[in-house]
């Protein structure tokens, strides 16, 4: 990716020519794949021509200069729709940009459009969008994973160079694994969430998807670091320096049986191969006792549902979004929500409301918070022994459209290996690792808090090894 940016900076390929090609690709493929909700052809070309001028004037700067960037449609871009793939926000246009978007643009990135997703990021297959499901480019009868389905597909199919997604329980890594691209869920509070529509605020992260690990490093270098609009973000890392200085021979990578519970056979086979590759690049691979993921995973729901229900309170249709009439405001609100929110979103609101009600002593949500603290302490102890943890990204391969969407328990199993990173806040990356037939397989690496730079560097070393 770095080489490609250099090509754009030098004028060997003009940004406008490149964007034109990208737009043609979208035109050609997206009718079937449905990765985009909004394509901003005009805005992208205008911006590209500005960058052309900078090239001609010899002032072409920026880490992401001339790259076509796709942005998940739950991240605000000023002047573009911010639908969250919901009827509720079908025609809502954001009056401001997310901090990450401002930073991408400052570094020369060109926003080409807003990508499809599961409605309000509620899903792991890209099927719950009000704008219809996104399809997997490697097998269009199969799902691309979710919820950052469109972002992953845009990168996988060459409709964008890189993309921004969001990850609350696996929503970047899961579709990255299903479509064969790199995807990073950064450490919580490394990247500003200002401008990201909430799913579950204590778990949400914005991260990059890219065809290579370098692309992850470039985007992270551009977007991470303190922001006066997000009180939690205080640190900054140097991703590019880590890429060149990282030495895999000095690291220990741990794994455990607990990471394989529920994993299907082909996944287990590829994981074994993955451990061998880690060993072959010089890393010390150690087996250790890890918390069984099948026990960890339900904890995610005790946290996520109540936070989601809280976040969704603002969608009433009274000041923006889908509006309904009623005899009083409460009826108007109930109708607007009834009409404009999808089934999975409603399911989560109902469960989240129940789990956080005071009449149940808030026991479920508070229990979740308590258990999460214990889990985080346990992971901290594990990271005293190893530098990284390895697991498959998903327990199974991309499944057929419609196969799991009616069965939440089966659907939720998609996240069983990814939620650990969100619950504890650690960074995790999907490394595309070979194929099963024509279907991509993804492996996950997790690192210590705020060691995202080294994590991406390790993923970079493994690049192409699959």
């Amino acid at each position: 990716m770095m080489e490609f940016v250099e090509k754009l900076r030098s004028g060997e390929l003009l940004p406008s020519e490149h964007v034109q090609e990208i737009l043609e690709k979208i035109e050609e493929l997206d009718r079937r794949l449905n990765a985009f909700i909004t394509v901003d052809a005009e805005g992208a070309l205008r911006r590209a021509r500005e960058l052309d001028r900078l090239v001609r004037e010899g002032r072409a700067n920026g880490l992401l200069f001339g790259l076509a960037v796709a942005v998940k449609d739950n991240i605000a871009v000023e002047g573009l729709r911010l639908t969250c793939a919901s009827k509720m926000l079908e025609s809502y246009v954001s009056p401001f940009s997310a901090t990450v978007v401002e930073r991408v643009v400052e570094q020369g990135g060109i926003i080409v459009g807003k990508t499809n997703m599961d409605e309000f990021a509620c899903g792991s297959s890209g099927e719950t969008s009000y704008f219809g499901p996104t399809r997997n480019p490697w097998d269009e009868e199969r799902v691309p994973g979710g919820s950052s389905s469109g972002s992953a597909v845009a990168v996988a199919a060459g409709m964008a160079d890189i993309a921004l997604g969001s990850d609350t329980g696996g929503s970047i890594r899961n579709p990255a694994a299903f479509t064969g691209v790199y995807g990073l869920k950064p450490t919580y509070n490394l990247v500003s969430r200002y401008g990201l529509v909430d799913l579950a605020m204590s778990l949400d992260t914005i991260g990059p998807l890219s065809p290579d690990a370098e692309g992850l490093a470039l985007v992270m270098e551009a977007v991470s670091g303190p922001d006066g609009k997000d009180a939690g973000v205080r640190r900054k890392l140097n991703f590019l320096a880590a890429l060149s200085s990282f030495d895999p021979e000095k690291v220990r990578v741990g794994w455990g049986e607990g990471f394989l519970e529920g994993a299907e056979d082909p996944i287990k086979r590829h994981f074994e191969r993955f451990l061998n590759v880690l060993d072959s690049v010089g890393a010390e691979v150690v087996e250790l006792k890890v918390p069984p993921m099948e026990k960890v995973w339900p904890l995610y729901y005790l946290i996520m549902y109540p936070e989601f229900a809280s976040a969704m309170q603002r969608y009433t249709g009274l000041t923006y979004g889908h509006r309904a009439e009623g005899n009083d405001i409460y009826e108007a609100i109930a109708r607007a929500r009834g009409e404009a929110l999808g089934k999975e979103v409603k399911r989560r609101i109902v469960l989240g409301t129940y789990l956080s009600m005071e009449k149940y002593e808030r026991s479920f949500h508070e229990l979740g918070i308590r258990l999460r603290r214990g889990l985080t302490a346990e992971i901290k102890r594990i990271f005293d022994k190893v530098d990284f943890l390895a697991s498959p990204t998903t327990p199974f391969l991309p499944f057929r459209l419609g196969e799991r969407v009616e069965d939440p328990v089966k659907m939720y199993a998609s996240d069983s290996l990814t939620v650990l990173a969100n619950l504890t806040g650690i960074p995790a990356v999907n490394v595309p690792f070979g194929r099963e037939g024509k279907l991509p397989v993804g492996m996950q690496l997790m690192g210590r808090w705020f060691e995202d730079d080294r994590l991406v560097a390790l993923a970079n070393v493994l690049g192409g090894e699959g």
Partner: protein, 448 residues
């Protein structure tokens, strides 16, 4: 009877609690002091909490002698209402606990954000107020009469003014009162905006509850709304239908850590409190009752001190505490309502003190001034000095040597004849007390 309060005070800060919009909601066009944060737009997040608001809240906590908490967590309180853009209000865990004022225990203070303003009749919302920092002061139900409750509120009002923490002087606080009579359960009355309103609402509620109890009925736990226009309380909801607010820590706001440095800084910034000021005045030789009357209104006490170098302190204290406050009370005015006329008020007091106008003239001028008549005080005072009192006094001493002789030989009553003569010659425009003082000082001086 047991009465307690939850009192909301908007804090005087330049910007809102979680964004940089100005707080001056009352004199801006509707929905102009707004941004994505205080409108709760999709994707917006609270900025780091406004430090100035925390500092002002700490001032109140310290002035009330409270224990400050080390860690404060912002919670989300969920409910649907058009003025609440995110569907939840951010409200903190206690910032401080266990204080007291005027014999009433203060249970806790916490920080909140104000919602916008909704006009149900027109169906319009103004979000200018949304996100304005508030503190909620919660008392124990320690007040046993309406008078006691009123005394407490006046003391609190006075304290808040002294601390300079109030955002909008015309809405110092919004009050939820709770009251229970023996034999009945606790009833909460919401939406009272003034101390007079509290008195009316509580009086209404006492009568309503007494009647119920006397008729052998029950007073059940409920929340009622004070309708100021109609002068009645109306039931809002009973216990069974209490809303479930699903309080949860707001994941977007890191817990606020109150360091000992922050507390020290607030302590240093603490201004002189009303009771401290009163003591200082007493030590200056001012009567306790006058000192107390002066400090009731901070603006009045400030005015008192502003002019101290130019006039006799005791005379000045008497003038403000008795004369001026008496005239203000008669007109249901506060000093701050007439503060723009303070220089004229001082002119009148000084002219009187110096004997250039009589007490009667001074009072007459003061009344005209407070009644809003357009008078030129400087001009009026000058007219009062048409006669130079001292000249007349010297004239009288020269013209009545017999009387002077009587006085000097020990007939002290003779002075009254001299005073009478001066008053006659000045046609009553001189101040008798001042004339007497002048006469005494001139007659005691043997060179005259």
């Amino acid at each position: 009877m047991k009465i307690g309060f939850e009192i909301h005070v908007q804090l005087r800060t330049r910007s809102k609690l979680f964004c940089t919009c100005p707080t001056s909601y009352w004199d801006a066009e509707p929905n102009t002091n707004v941004c994505p944060v205080c409108l709760g737009l999709p994707g917006s997040k609270p900025y780091p909490v406004n430090k100035e608001a925390v500092k002002k809240a700490l001032l109140v906590a310290l002035a009330l002698g409270m224990e400050v908490k080390e860690k404060v967590v912002f919670l989300r309180k969920h409910y649907f209402y058009p003025d609440l853009p995110s569907g939840y209000q951010r409200t903190s865990t206690p910032l401080a606990v266990n204080g007291s004022l005027a014999g009433v225990r203060i249970r806790e203070i916490h920080v909140e954000e104000d919602p916008g303003r909704y006009e149900p009749r027109e169906g319009l919302v103004d979000f200018n107020r949304s996100g304005v920092p508030l503190i909620e002061i919660v008392t124990e139900p320690d007040m046993e009469s309406i008078d006691e409750a009123e005394r407490f509120l006046r003391a609190l009002h006075q304290l808040l003014t002294y601390l300079g923490v109030v955002l909008n002087p015309s809405v110092v606080f919004r009050i939820d009162a709770n009251i229970s009579l023996s034999g009945g359960e606790r009833v909460e009355i919401k939406n009272i905006n003034t101390i007079e309103g509290v008195r009316k609402a509580l009086s209404y509620e006492v009568i309503r509850q007494k009647r119920l109890l006397e008729a052998g009925k029950k007073v059940t736990r409920e929340t009622r709304h004070w309708d100021d226009a109609r002068g009645v309380t109306v039931s809002l909801r009973v216990k069974e239908t209490e809303e479930d607010y699903r309080y949860m820590p707001d994941p977007d706001i890191p817990p606020l850590v109150i360091t000992s440095d922050m507390i020290e800084e607030a302590r240093r910034a603490l201004p002189e409190l009303p009771w401290e000021r009163e003591e200082r005045y007493v030590s200056m030789g001012i009567d306790r009752t006058k000192a107390h009357a002066l400090v009731v209104e901070k603006e009045l006490a400030d005015f008192f001190e502003e002019k101290l170098g130019e006039i006799d302190p005791k005379f000045w204290a008497d003038f403000l505490a008795d004369r001026l406050r008496g005239e203000l009370n008669y007109r249901s005015l506060l000093f701050r309502d007439v503060e723009d006329k303070k220089e004229d008020i001082f002119l009148i007091a000084r002219a009187w003190f110096e004997g250039r106008i009589t007490k009667e003239m001074a009072v007459g001028l003061l009344r005209k001034l407070l009644d809003g008549e357009s008078i030129n005080v400087e001009e009026e005072v000058r007219k009062g000095v048409a006669v130079d009192v001292e000249d007349v006094v010297r004239e009288v001493i020269g013209d009545l040597p017999e009387v002077v002789k009587d006085y000097r030989s020990g007939k002290k009553n003779a002075i009254n004849r001299l005073v009478g003569e001066v008053m006659k010659r000045t046609k009553g425009r001189a101040d008798a007390r001042r004339v007497k003082e002048l006469l005494v000082s001139l007659l005691e001086d043997n060179n005259t």
